[in-house]
Symmetry: C2
Subunit: 207 residues, 2 copies
């Protein structure tokens, strides 16, 4: 298809498509004449990915470029690609963590046998939450940490099963962004619905 048709198929404007081409985020089309190129399904998929990374993932163009370079590396390591994606969509936590909370996170990782690198921002996020709980006098809340970790492992297994079923790196990364971020919202909503249901069973006064 020509660039105008690619625009219609994806809802991305022609000037924006040309910008992505210049920036190397979208591969060049196949030249059919000095001034015309033909685009295919790969381009449609890549534009979908770019929109998901920007709109859902809130990535900057620089972060997007880093992820796309990993996707395009010949024989790319899928784990590296997913790790870079996760770091790009995970904000650095605001809350400074205290030593006790950092140690509690290390102990959890050890206990669960989780393979997790030093660059994982969620370790800091978790230590930050534990610190905040301590400050609020809710240090004892961390006794639920392993129950939450059990639930997180269940969900992560399902998420990674879906990732393994994707046929190409673009789709894997798109799923990692959309599934991680919208999955958080889904989980939070389901948790509140389950709270309500259990509260009504346990705490409703019998008439």
């Amino acid at each position: 298809m020509r660039v105008a048709e690619l625009s219609t198929a994806t809802g991305v404007s022609v000037p924006t498509i040309k910008y992505y081409l210049r920036e190397g985020l979208l591969p060049q089309g196949e030249l059919t004449s000095p001034n015309q190129a033909r685009y295919g399904e790969d381009h449609v998929r890549r534009l979908r990915l770019i929109r998901a990374l920007l709109d859902v993932g809130g990535m900057t163009i620089a972060q997007l470029r880093e992820v796309i370079e990993l996707i395009e590396t010949p024989g790319q390591d899928v784990n590296d690609m997913l790790g870079a994606t996760q770091r790009a969509i995970t904000p650095v936590p605001e809350q400074e963590a205290d030593a006790e909370s950092i140690a509690a996170v290390e102990a959890l990782i050890e206990r669960r046998g989780w393979a997790t690198g030093d660059r994982q921002p969620s370790r800091d996020a978790l230590a930050g939450v534990l610190t905040r709980l301590n400050q609020l006098g809710f240090g004892w809340f961390s006794e639920v940490l392993d129950s939450y970790a059990d639930a997180a492992e269940m969900v992560a297994k399902v998420d990674l099963d879906l990732t393994a079923r994707q046929r190409d790196p673009d789709s894997m990364v798109e799923l990692a962004v959309v599934g991680t971020l919208l999955g958080d919202v889904m989980m939070a909503a389901l948790r509140r619905m389950a709270h309500e249901s259990q509260s009504s069973q346990r705490f409703t006064a019998t008439p």
Copy 2:
């Protein structure tokens, strides 16, 4: 203790304490002379609750008043109290839900046997996420809905066990706010750590 000591014990300034007294959010102390009152542990606990509702829960004073009125209702229904708390800390979802997604949420509730009322904003939040997934071409992602719901039920059970152990309504409501909101952050961090661990097991190229 006197008002100055209450201020020292809680870190809340005397003018702010007087404002809460005038607004009826904090019960009056026991008068020891026409110009002096004595405050006790109930006041310390209530001030902690007010700070958690404002700082962690992001409640408005009007929402806070509604929750505190329910706490102070003689023979209050704990389920009503927790329900009002949850509604006050759950924002109305931005995303308009389509009919298909609303039906999917209704079917989920039916399937799980969840007791959930019409005023539950998380139903709309969930339908909004499903709609957004459809728009992004990820409608198939909803096949994980029941696995996520299993995990949410597990976590909610642990949360409500903790709630049932609280000795007074102030502490129950404080836990509902802190545990629900910081619990979301905890869950999101643990899910990403579990993602990373499973990704490295499944997708790392063997050297």
